[in-house]
């Protein structure tokens, strides 16, 4: 597929899993700028596995997923420019402060006015008081907020979030939901795995229910499926 004409993310007969063990699928998906999709389902249904497979973090059992039709994993710097992903991975450099971690990201992505962007994210995620703290001194929630800040501080066409509500206080969850909605309305694309019905219905209009097979549904149906409506 010519990248000039290709949607941002496509999946064709995609089956996610480990080795030859199928977790979920097959999935056909065309996802472009301004699109948003929530992925919901019970524990162990394969939501995160599907998300990782969609963006090339792990190889599919069968089928294919690609960014712009050609980039199947993050070995391409174009892929890394286009896709920002925040999974439940908690890893930091033990000698870098909160602020320095964010500076690393803005420098690497060449964000104009990087320090201003750092200040904005520190403010948004209520990390300003902890800006000089080393990761060991952070609480579990602060570490999670730092990871989310790193995912949001940089430019990206596709934002991928795996259960961003985990370890977040309700007020920040609500602010995050509003921010993600605004991002979509401004042409950003968001793929979101969540167990939070409010976050789901605030951010996306349609969702993919992962369970006994895959089924596209409205956000309201998705919220009902996770017991939130």
């Amino acid at each position: 597929m010519d990248p000039q004409d290709a949607p941002l993310l496509t999946a064709r007969d995609l089956v996610a899993g480990y080795g030859d063990f199928e977790v979920c699928g097959p999935l056909d998906l065309v996802f472009d700028r301004g699109d948003a999709l929530g992925i919901v389902g019970l524990n162990a249904a394969g939501k995160s596995t599907l998300l990782r497979t969609l963006i090339g973090r792990q190889p599919p059992v069968s089928g294919r997923a690609a960014v712009l039709g050609v980039f199947t994993d993050d070995t391409s710097h174009v892929h890394r420019r286009l896709v920002s992903a925040v999974f439940d991975e908690d890893a930091f450099f033990d000698s870098l402060t909160v602020e320095e971690h964010l500076q690393l990201i803005v420098s690497g992505h060449g964000v104009p006015d990087g320090q201003e962007a750092v200040e904005r994210e520190l403010e948004f995620f209520e990390l300003a008081a902890a800006r000089d703290a080393l990761p060991d001194a952070l609480s579990s929630g602060q570490r999670r907020r730092l990871l989310l800040a790193a995912g949001l501080i940089r430019p990206a066409e596709l934002l991928v979030l795996d259960e961003p509500e985990q370890r977040l206080d309700p007020p920040i969850r609500a602010q995050l939901a509003v921010r993600l909605r605004a991002r979509i309305e401004n042409g950003g694309a968001v793929l979101l795995v969540t167990h939070d019905a409010v976050l789901l219905t605030t951010v996306v209009d349609r969702c993919l229910i992962v369970g006994d097979g895959l089924r596209f549904a409205s956000a309201g149906e998705g919220a009902a499926a996770i017991g939130g409506a």
């Binding site: 080795g19 030859d20 000698s95 870098l96």
Partner: protein, 558 residues
């Protein structure tokens, strides 16, 4: 820039809205290093201290290994051709044996390097550096360069004890001016290690790291079995076997050649390998870099904590062929296998053991080691036979204790069953007996064939029985090793002030191994005595049972 699905090829035409361009010139590793350096200036002296302790540790280890190798070399020289082995059995030339041994060791090194990556990043690097749109090549090539230097140093150090021991009398076919040849040998093995490192890196860039690691392990086991078959068939009277032509052409004989030809030939191979691998490094998936980084991290921690078992476990990480197992073993051992808690525990442990990939390989290799030693020219030396028996026994006992080791790591599992702690510990000791008693009998069979032969069926039978009884004691040793208590670092640090930290550290490292060696004493004594006195059978039974109870003993908490 990687443009095709496989990550190679030219740049595709991207839509105007994609901020493509070249990768940014920002170097995250340099930035991180600079910030860390500023913050860690105070720790610089500590780092020098670490280097000093590391060099000292390697030096001491090298001295021990050198002593052992020279001891073995002396044993080889003193024993003559046959030693304890009956005439006509020790017929395989020592050079063939050395080649096979070194080739297997080199495959092991390649396997280790493949497990470690060799290109790897830790989780923080993966998350914070490798998500950036920067050129990964320089970061990865710098890391690979550093690792290859270490690998070269490892090869040099590994050859030192062999070269120093082999330089005078030639059990490895080594002769001539010792120093020049020693240096040539070191350079050769170091460069061979580097070649293997580059091959492993190439496998990583081709995205076949796990498959390659499995292939190396299979190749090592097959080579060991081929050697054992070749050796036994030659000892049984055949002039040659299909494998006889293999040993002289293996690259492992090169270090022993002692000339500069081999390192001179290897240098262009290394350069070509580097030129081939270097531009492809950015093809390695982040997930693979992280996986290798996880293994490297666990291996490093295991070495720091002197935990051999954890070290072995770190290399057996990696994806199973499938994360869901529905194999024939589960059908062979149905869920209603026995109705008691002990039977349930046994079934679970049996399934764990059957699914632990390299258990059977290690058991087979340990037997091949014995067969190879008995049939090698000079392998009948009492010293060599006893050392080989000890090594084979420890290897087998470690393998058989894999399931108990898993149970020891998760003590809460025992609490799920209605068993008191002592009964549970003894139940864990049953499966190793089921594995190691037959292993001991097979070891005794090999020894009996080599030492007594058909002419002395009584002695042969006694050796088989003694071997089986030793297996029971070995099972105790494997359990003792599995349930090794955590090292009390407070005691170590307290004693360090007095310069006596070595005691608890070594005690922790050999916990369980000492019982394995005691369990093997009757077999060792039987090898030295001819004819074997029948009373030794009773002694072996006593040692075996006592060893098993010692291994399954669980001290009551205070």
């Amino acid at each position: 820039m990687n443009a095709s699905p496989a990550g190679s090829g030219g740049s595709p035409a991207l839509p105007a809205w994609v901020p493509a361009g070249p990768p940014t010139r920002f170097d995250p590793s340099a930035t991180t290093r600079r910030l860390r350096r500023d913050r860690r200036r105070a720790e610089r002296f500590e780092r020098w201290g670490d280097i000093y302790v590391g060099v000292l540790g390697v030096g001491i280890l090298l001295a021990y290994v050198l002593g052992l190798v020279q001891f073995l070399a002396q044993g080889l020289r003193d024993s003559g051709a046959a030693g304890l082995v009956r005439p006509g059995v020790a017929v395989v030339p020592a050079t063939d044996a050395g080649s096979a041994l070194l080739a297997i060791a080199l495959l092991g090194v390649a396997g280790l390097l493949t497990g470690l990556g060799p290109v790897a990043v830790d989780r923080a690097q993966g998350l914070w550096w490798f998500s950036l749109p920067v050129d990964r090549g320089p970061m990865l090539s710098r890391q690979l360069r550093i690792r290859l230097v270490w690998v070269f140093a490892g090869g040099v150090v590994a050859w030192l004890p062999l070269g120093l021991s082999a330089g005078t009398a030639g059990p490895f076919g080594y002769s001539g001016p010792p120093m020049a040849e020693l240096v040539a040998g070191c350079a050769t093995l170091g460069l061979e290690f580097v070649v293997f490192g580059l091959v492993a890196a190439a496998a990583q860039t081709a995205r076949i790291r796990h498959g390659f690691a499995r292939a190396l392990m299979v190749a090592g086991v097959l080579l060991a079995l081929a050697y054992a078959i070749d050796a036994v068939s030659r000892a049984a009277g055949a002039a040659r076997s299909p494998f006889s032509g293999l040993w002289p052409v293996l690259p492992s004989v090169w270090p022993a050649a002692g000339t500069w030809l081999a390192p001179a030939a290897l240098v262009p191979v290394v350069v070509a390998g580097w030129l081939l691998v270097r531009p492809r490094l950015d093809r390695i998936r982040t997930s693979d870099l992280l996986d290798a980084g996880g293994i490297s991290g666990q291996a490093g921690n295991s070495i720091a904590l002197l935990d051999v078992r954890s070290l072995a476990r770190s290399f057996s990480r990696g994806p199973r062929r499938t994360s869901h197992v529905r194999d024939a073993w589960a059908r062979l051992l149905p869920a209603r296998f026995g109705a008691s808690p002990v039977a349930a525990l046994l079934r679970a442990e049996a399934l764990v053991l059957l699914r632990t990939g390299n258990v059977w390989a290690r058991l087979l290799v340990s037997l091949a080691l014995l067969a190879g030693t008995v049939t090698a020219h000079g392998g009948g030396s009492a010293v060599v036979l006893c050392v080989a028996t000890a090594l084979a026994g420890i290897l087998a006992a470690q393998a058989a204790g894999a399931a108990a080791s898993e149970a020891a790591r998760v003590p809460g599992l025992d609490a799920l069953l209605p068993l008191d702690s002592r009964t549970a510990r003894r139940a864990h000791g049953l499966l190793p007996v089921v594995v190691l008693a037959p292993w001991g009998a097979l070891a005794g069979t090999i020894m009996g064939w080599g030492l007594a032969g058909p002419g002395a069926p009584g002695d042969w039978t006694l050796l088989v029985a003694i071997g089986a009884l030793c297996g029971i004691g070995l099972a105790g040793g494997s359990l003792r090793m599995a349930y090794r208590p955590e090292l009390d670092w407070e005691t170590v640090l307290q004693r360090q002030v007095l310069g006596k930290a070595g005691g608890p550290l070594i005690g922790h490292a050999v916990h369980g191994m000492e019982l394995m060696l005691i369990a093997l004493v009757p077999l060792g004594v039987a090898l030295l005595l001819a004819p074997v006195p029948a009373v030794l059978l009773a002694v072996a039974a006593g040692v075996g049972v006592a060893g098993w109870f010692a291994g399954t003993y669980r001290p009551q908490p205070l």
